[in-house]
Amino acid sequence: MIRFENVGMRYGSEEEILTDINFELEAGSFHFLTGPSGAGKSSLLKLLSLSHRHSRGRLTCFEKDIGKAQRSGLIKLRRRIGIVFQEFRLLDHLTALENVALPLHIMGVKRKEIQSNAEEILEWVGLGHKTGALPPTLSGGEKQRVAIARAVVTKPQLLLGDEPTGNVDPDMAERIMKLFVELNKMGTTLLIATHDPQLVARYHVPILKLHEGRLSYGR
């Protein structure tokens, strides 16, 4: 589903932040992405979320060569990808329900479907009673669950997590991970970036290790 072949990435004319990246994500797979700060995890996630383009090599996403894809084509591909951030990135003036409804609205789904799908997904993350709550009134764990609901409400084929448990307590981190595992069982391809070794140790899934912009496999 996702294939990196000798991919390199640089910002402007600076040195390459990612060098000769080679890996493949099969549909339905679950990987961790680890590495110290500055190793290039965020840059790799930017390539995967199609918010940046690679500088060299070949990157294939959903059978499309991203290097040759038009900008309008990337917009459509992005809708097949969900992303959860460490800092949640919810819109504070919208309720939990509206935040979750946002991607459905963007896709042009009918209002009735938007309402029922958004409510259903909030129920699934355990926040059915918080539909009208604004993000500033929610705890860190609740915000992250709203963010997960927003990321998965369109049933994306690929779900990316950028340190999704970084800002929540261990119990909530466990609960969030269970949601991810459940999604993976339903067929969603997962890539979770983390630098929490304990979290990685608890789940027996392949690890992509980044070090100084170069990728190696673990486990």
């Binding site: 199609l50 919208l94 609205h105």
Partner: protein
Amino acid sequence: MAAEDEKTRTSFLEVSFLGRLKTFYFLPPKEKSNRFLPLIIAVMAYLTLLGSATGLAIFNATNAWSTDLSQVLTVQIVHPEAQERERQTRAVMEVLEDTAGVIEARTIPENELEALLEPWLGVGNVTDDLPVPAMVSVTIRQGSRIDTAALNARLRVKAPDASLDDHQQWIGRLTSLSNMVQVAVFVSIALIVLTTVAMVVFATKSALAAHRETVEIMHLIGAKDSLIASEFRKLFMLHGFKGGLIGLIAAMLTISLILYLAARIGGGLLPRLYLTAGQMTLLGLVPFLTSLLSMWTADMTVRHALGKMV
């Protein structure tokens, strides 16, 4: 209370999705990054309206004046002795009666001549011993081409102290002045419009910077540029309309005052300054024009900025 709050939020969702503008309010409803923009647009609209009104009023006045003058000739008989003046005036009238294209030739009575001089000399200061020339007002048929040089020569044969004035020198100067004023007004308005566009570009960039995070999220979750731009379009359309309306109200008050004062001064010294109903309606469209200009500029700016994103 909680249920009430819930109801309010749900209704916002409905308005968000099904509002008449079909706009999803991903920007905060009380967006404050450009709260002074309507005032800036109001000043620009005010200046545009004053400039336009001035240009139009001058155009109307000069147009009316030159139309009136082009149909009127004036014969002046300057002689110190009243008897000779009257003789030559009669001779002039005879020549004019035999001239094709002349509808009416009228000797201007002394009281009318005195009234014309009063604004300069003051009431009652036109004395009997003041040698006021005799004047004959000639109305000619519209479109008739009278050879004024030949007519003047014919008049001079019968009345050596008569001179014909066809006002062409005045009309020419007046038209030149009017054209120059109109060009100046047009250039001023063009500069004001360009300045307004620049202001809106800066304001849009500032709004984009203030909501960079939101725009990035929208972009990441697959929003098309047109959807993101639509929110800014709506926001700046409202800013433009508010500014245009404030400018219109202020300008209309000023224009009304100026026209009122000009009408009071008028009395033959100044041509009548006025705006037609059509022109007033046209000026009344300014709030719509400012909102369209503001909306279009914001849309272009946002799309340009989004175009730089992958």
